[in-house]
Amino acid sequence: MALQNEDKLEVGYSSLQPKPKKWVLLMLRLLAFFATAAATVVMGLNKETKTLVVATVGTTLIKATLTAKFQHTPAFVFFVIANGLASIHNLVMIMGDSFGQKLDYKGLRLAMIAILDMMTVALISGGASAAAFMAELGKNGNSHARWNSICDKYKTFCDHGGGALIASFAGLILMLIISVMSIIKLLIKPKPDSTIVVP
């Protein structure tokens, strides 16, 4: 009789466990949302225009306007799209955690959340690494391919891009932690057939 009471107490304790984890997960998702949204916005609005005087005809100066936009580089376009998708994912997950606790599909809610989190982590990591190596190429150039660096001419563009990259890497680390926590939540889910036998 005492043993059964102990087991019942254990079951009650383990059902209280996820509560502090729920707040932690929500806070992490909020931080990751802000990080990826910041990366998207900063890189999306990344533009720099320079005006050079090319020639002088008489007294009029002929000017050439050169711009550096993020759309010129497919790696940065992928970066913006990946971070945008990741922030949408985080937003949907925050809404789902806050308002849609009852939503379920054949008991696969936790599995779907875990799989979507893993897909988002892979997406963010792809976008961040592509943009990082592209930025390194822009900063250092490549002497073997005769590619000159562009950061000395477009300093603001490079600075803003670097800031967006840092935000995206912070978002990546946070998403990695979130994904690990989602999988842990999936693994410690109490299985319905392993109940305590009560004679």
Partner: protein
């Protein structure tokens, strides 16, 4: 069901090892040189940090896959395999993305930055790198399926 899952996962892991090995071999053996206006123009994978990262990433993922195949004969699916598979998937996705970004610039150039494409001068290099990138992409996709199998096994 668990046994079928394990066998299927091991077959996929073998395919992934093969894909990573092909990617590494083709990337490392890709070098070409051309003479352009009295200048010798060589192209090697080690001239680009993105390709070096690609080789290292594939090597780590391939090595981990071999270890996981060998260990899967000893015990059943551990729960830790899910996390390690996720790390390997993220690493593969990251490697292939970085290499593809730089390879795209190499093939098409960047008119806005004044960078000329190099594939016209060193076609052999470009062909080998293309094969390596295809194999790397296949490895990433296969690894995502492996991850889903591992997740299903510990559900």
């Amino acid at each position: 069901m668990a046994k079928i899952n394990k066998i299927f996962s091991n077959i996929l892991r073998l395919l992934a090892v093969a894909a990573t090995v092909v990617a590494i071999v083709f990337m490392v053996t890709s070098h070409d040189s051309a003479q352009v206006l009295n200048l010798t123009f060589t192209a090697k994978y080690s001239y680009t940090p993105a390709f070096k990262f690609f080789v290292v990433g594939e090597a780590i993922a391939g090595g981990y896959t071999v270890i996981s195949i060998l260990l899967s004969f000893k015990t059943l699916f551990w729960r830790i395999i899910v996390f390690l598979d996720m790390v390997a998937t993220v690493l593969l996705a990251s490697s292939i993305s970085a290499a593809l970004a730089i390879a795209q610039v190499g093939k098409k150039g960047s008119a806005h930055a004044g960078w000329l494409p190099v594939c016209g001068q060193v076609p052999h290099f470009c062909d080998r790198v293309t094969v390596a990138l295809l194999a790397g992409f296949a490895a990433a996709v296969i690894y995502f399926v492996i991850l889903l199998c591992s997740l299903y096994a510990v559900l």
